[in-house]
Amino acid sequence: MTDNTIIIDEQTTWAGGRSPFNVSYGKLMMWLFLLSDTFTFSCLLIGYGAIRFSYGEGWPDPSTVFNHFPFAHGMNLPLLFVSLMTFILIGSSVTMVLAVEAGHRNSKKEVAKYMLYTIVGGIMFLSCQAWEWSQFIGEGASLRENLFGLTEAGKIKAAGLGFAHHYTWIEGVDRMAGPVPFASLFFIVTGFHGFHVFSGVVLNIIIYINTIKGTYERRGHYEMVEKVGLYWHFVDLVWVFVFTFYYLI
């Protein structure tokens, strides 16, 4: 590439015997970062679990909250939209796999094509999230308050447990306001994940531009695509957990 770059073989970088993971240090670093990020998300999800289960039956049922779909006003479509979002994100992971696979074959055109699909998938996911947030906020959720209240049975149990004073009757919407952390946890958990998706899209765009410019073709390998691929799959995996814990359970 330049005079500063020399071609070295495995013998020079790794001379301590068999390489423990058979990966370059760059990929190892990405794995370690993902490991540490796993702990951040675990922290958020465990915090979510701890608060949620302290409410027992007092927690709103997500399927009655997230039951909207664009252009389908007034219809009760529980979790349909979020399933579509999940499908889009998993789809973008599939195109990422194809990009990595094309990278192994050093096919610049295909890498660029699938990277573009992945970026589009990521942007679609973020747009869906924006729609869902605005819908949720429009219905009265914010970091400070949550209007999504209890089911009838939940209300009775909440009164029995002695924390009914956490809820107040909202005149306009004729229901009990639910636990405030329901909304604030939603924003912080999906927001932190969305921030990761956003960073991933930015990284993907950088890699896409480099691919188009032929940087990796000159370098002779597409390892950078593999590295962002690892990140992208991780973000996808985290979403599966967020989806399960926040929407399904």
Binding site: Y25, R144, I188
Partner: protein
């Protein structure tokens, strides 16, 4: 990978021979691990001095609560009106002293300095896996330090809710003066610190795993590397949890959420609109970092001690494998014991018992390490360099502080001892003093490697004995205060008649603390004087086996001018009977066949010759004491 084109440090080095890097690239935004380690060390020393100065200020308050100190008003202004420390500012001092010592000195200053210096040099690499990330790691640490210290220059003062910043005190900006902007700056500083720690830790692990030179298998690595390796793993896995916990806290403080806030009543009326969370959740998240953090502090010090003791006892480290396994066990156990900080939060007693058992199990690997240190010293041909004295000092603190850990780990006894001076005494001995002594040992031992100069030994002996005795005089009496129920973090004990009897002890502790602090001036003088005017160091002043002493004294980017040395054996082949010299550096080729088994593992040398020691170790130990008064340059 085999066809990969990678820019290596070697190529950089070639470029450097033609062109000296600019001042900024060499000293400020340097990507050379040796320079970054010096930056970490000097920042750490400055932060350490500030932290120590704060401790002297609040010790003065504790010893003479009714006395007025004119100089305090001069330096602290309104925080010490009429020379008397403001109670809120006393809390701020305690908080920032703890934060600085735990994070900025003993995490970044210790692990940052020696991981950076020793990992590439001891594994035989030109630099870190990613020198650029390494540079970022230092600069995030620097920004973090500045952010933390800047909170002294705002009207409401720094964070004041203790170094653990428990909510609700930290979550409600109006709870006390320090809970306002001060705590926001504290959280910001910690977020920067976590980023720095992650960038560093990921680098350390990758370098150790992937950049070892030919022949440097994992089981030949010096114990320092093993310790840095596990430290980095602990940091990479535990700091993110603090990040998540801090994120919740930032939202609670600034955006009105209620993750940590529950009902708080003032005169029977709910004082908060944001309720529904739990402050205990913060404690769980904090201590999931907080306990591994203790070992992030201690493990590098233990690794340094292993290396210094083996080198200066001229003996192979006793039980190399046991040392590695005990490091691993400590690292693993540290993740499942955090609940022992929370026994009195109303935790289910069964859960408390589980946490108690796993906590007490840590005593096993710790004891393995202690006994191995003592066994290494046993019948050694000991050289009492200042580094060696500090290493032995660490072992002493590790024993005396570790024993009280067994009391505190007991969930029933902890009801009495929680938040008393017993806790203060325990952790200041076992992780404070022990880790500081490990750090000092490392500084004295690797100073020739860092700066190419020798430090003055006589000043080193003075520094050791004053610090060692002062540390025991400060922390040992605190055990008795704690057993009597004196709580930590109180501003003025004369206001509570029951604690009046401890006033004399408080005076003794403060006087000792001041003596200990003054002794550090010896070190500072020795350190900075020797950088410029010290005796020039020889290639391998301690006759050590490890690779860092094969690199030229003059610093090169790339560490070795020619090829990287190849490693032929483990790092602890001292006093081998078949060798003329009593050390056998790792890079010297030699016929080791009779000591290598079928798998290429080094076997311990079967027979050792009688060690020709003129004096018994105990005699030599006291000789070093007597040298204090001889005033000869050693």
């Amino acid at each position: 990978m085999s066809t990969a084109t990678i820019q290596t440090g070697h190529a950089n080095h070639d470029a450097h021979e033609h062109q000296e890097p600019s001042f900024v690239r060499k000293y400020i935004f340097s990507t050379d691990h040796k320079m970054i380690s010096k930056q970490f060390l000097i920042t750490g020393i400055i932060m350490g001095c500030l932290g120590m100065f704060m401790s002297v200020l609040f010790r003065l308050q504790l010893a003479w609560p009714d006395q007025s100190f004119g100089f305090m008003e001069t330096i602290l202004g309104t925080w010490a009106k009429d020379g008397k420390l403001d109670p809120n500012f006393y809390m701020a001092l305690v908080t920032i002293h703890g934060t600085i010592m735990v994070f900025y000195v003993l995490t970044a200053g210790l692990s940052g300095t020696f991981s950076n210096l020793l990992i590439p040099l001891q594994v035989g690499a030109r630099d870190m896996a990613s020198p650029f990330m390494n540079m970022l790691s230092y600069w995030f640490f620097f920004i973090s330090s500045v952010t933390l210290l800047s909170s002294f220059f705002i009207e409401t003062g720094p964070a004041s809710s203790g170094w653990t910043v428990y909510p609700p005190l930290s979550a409600l900006p109006k709870a006390m003066p320090g809970s306002g902007l001060g705590t926001t700056l504290w959280l910001l500083a910690i977020v920067f610190f976590i980023v720095s720690s992650l960038l560093g830790g990921i680098n350390y692990i990758s370098t150790i795993l992937n950049m070892r030179t030919k022949g440097m298998s994992m089981n030949r690595m010096p114990l320092t590397l093993w310790a840095f390796f596990f430290t980095a793993i602990l940091g990479v896995l535990s700091f993110p949890v603090l990040l998540g916990g801090a994120l919740f806290l930032i939202f609670d403080r600034s955006f009105g959420t209620s993750f940590y806030l529950s009902d708080i009543y003032l005169q029977g009326i709910g004082a908060l609109t944001n309720v529904g969370g739990s402050p205990i959740l913060y404690q769980h998240l904090f201590w999931f970092l907080g306990h591994p953090e203790v070992y992030i502090i201690l493990l590098p010090a233990l690794g340094i001690t292993s290396e210094v003791i083996a080198t200066n006892a001229r003996k192979p480290i006793f039980g190399y494998t046991a040392m590695v396994i005990s490091l691993m066990a400590i690292a693993f156990l540290s993740f499942i014991v955090w609940g022992h900080h929370m026994f009195i939060t109303g935790m289910n007693p069964f859960l408390g018992t589980v946490f108690m058992y796993v906590t007490l199990i840590i005593a096993v690997p710790s004891a393995v390490k202690t006994f191995n240190y003592i066994a290494t010293l046993w019948k050694g041909n000991i050289r009492f360099t200042p580094a060696m004295l500090f290493a032995i000092g660490l072992v002493s603190f590790f024993i005396s502080g570790g024993l009280t850990g067994i009391y505190l780990g007991n969930s029933a006894l902890d009801i009495n001892l929680h938040d008393t001076y017993f806790v203060v005494a325990h952790f200041h001995l076992v992780m404070g003093s022990a880790a500081i002594f490990g750090m000092m040992s490392g500084i004295y031992h690797w100073f020739p490697r860092m700066f190419g100069k020798m430090m003055n030994n006589t000043l080193g002996y003075f520094h050791f004995w004053f610090t060692f005795i002062a540390a025991y005089m400060v922390f040992f009496p605190m055990h008795f205060m704690g057993l009597a129920g004196v709580p930590r973090r109180y501003y003025q004990f004369t206001l509570i008649p029951e604690f009046g009897v401890w006033m004399d002890v408080n005076v003794l502790i403060t006087v000792s603390a001041i003596i200990g602090a003054l002794a550090q001036i010896l070190f500072l003088y020795n350190f900075f004087y020797s950088i410029f005017k010290g005796k020039k160091a020889v290639q391998n002043p301690w006759e050590s086996n490890t690779l860092e002493w094969t690199a030229p004294v003059k610093h090169l980017h790339g560490n070795w001018p020619g090829a990287i040395p190849t490693v032929y054996r483990g790092a602890y082949e001292y006093s081998r009977p078949d060798r003329e010299e009593d050390f056998y550096p790792q890079h010297i080729p030699g016929n080791d066949n009779e000591h290598v088994d079928d798998h290429g593992y080094i076997l311990p040398t079967p027979v050792r010759k009688e060690i020709p020691v003129a004096e018994k170790p105990a005699t030599v130990f006291f000789t070093s004491f007597s040298r204090l008064f001889s005033f000869k340059r050693a």
